[in-house]
Amino acid sequence: MDQIDAATLLQVVRLIVAGATIAIGSIGPAFAEGRALAQALESIARQPDASGTISRTLFVGLAMVESTAIYCLVMAFIILFVK
């Protein structure tokens, strides 16, 4: 079997780590967003009058929760592309 040189090995490690970063990093936000969405739906079902306020707050909240996943995306990009 041929010897794998260091550069190729580094590239392989990069790919694996970047994939793991996104995979693990999106678990938390996914659960959190699901919880927030479920709660918001329940609130809207109870109080349809407040649906405007609830959904707007939900959007902002989801965007905040999502930023954790976005930081993971940034890290994955840095791992992949920054030499």
Partner: protein
């Protein structure tokens, strides 16, 4: 002929996203001029009615989120919304790619928001009181407040970029896999890829609208927070006033 080729080569260093950004800007500028050229109060045309609806909704959104007079903020926020929305949709046109799929463009937009926050904050509350808001709730929080200001700008840029870019990238991956890896079975997998890209396109249409909305709302939240950062007592008083107002409205 050579001259044209030379000119084209000279223009080559300008990135694609710059072309599409300026294209979107030109289209929007021309459209705005055309719409506002002949504004009528009686029997407005369809186009005017549509844009009046848009402006009205933006005013309402601003009033609800920033809880102040929307007039100074709607020009910036409305421009952001319309630009981001149209820029997201540009990717749907075959042969073009969204300017917002480029991190440089979204970073520019985020920097606009980053600079607008102190601008509006200082204008509404004065230099000293705006700066003092960084020391709330106490001086110990100063580095965290500054850090928050920077990271939220970063996440604003990367959120828009990530969502739009991943939409386009997924299309590319699906088509790429069918035409290269599964090339031998293209006849079988082409219909699958067609349906899949159709659904992905619809998904990115929805994403385009939602991300434009989220970008606008977040910009509004940041500006609104800078404009009316109050201390706890003032906030309590304002909330009581608002509750009374809502009660009065509700009993009508």
């Amino acid at each position: 002929m050579d001259q044209i080729r030379n000119i084209l080569r000279a223009l080559d260093w300008i990135p694609k996203s710059a072309w599409s950004t300026w294209g979107v800007m030109a289209v929007l500028a021309v459209l705005s001029c055309a719409v506002t050229r002949r504004l009528r109060t009686e029997a407005p045309g369809k186009l005017q009615s549509f844009f009046e609806l848009l402006v009205e909704q933006l005013c309402k959104l601003t009033r609800e989120i920033a809880r102040t007079d929307p007039e100074p903020y709607v020009p910036l926020v409305g421009t952001l919304f319309v630009f981001v929305f149209v820029a997201n949709l540009v990717g749907m046109v075959p042969g073009l790619s969204s300017p917002t799929a480029d991190l440089s463009v979204t970073a520019g937009l985020a920097i606009v928001v980053f600079l607008a926050v102190p601008f509006y904050g200082v204008r509404a509350r004065g230099f000293g009181r705006y700066l003092k808001a960084y020391l709330e709730p106490n001086a110990f929080m100063l580095p965290f407040n500054i850090l928050g200001e920077v990271t939220r700008t970063l996440s604003l840029a990367v959120r828009l970029f990530g969502n739009i870019m991943s939409g386009e990238f997924l299309l590319l991956v699906v088509i790429g896999v069918v035409t290269t890896v599964l090339h031998g079975y293209a006849r079988v997998f082409m219909p699958v890829a067609f349906v899949l890209t159709l659904f992905l396109s619809i998904l990115s249409l929805i994403t385009a609208a939602i991300q434009a909305y989220i970008f606008t709302v977040l910009a509004l939240v940041y500006i609104g927070a800078a404009v009316e950062r109050r201390n706890a007592a003032e906030r309590k008083k304002a909330r009581a006033l608002l509750n009374e107002e809502e009660k009065a409205n509700g009993s009508d």
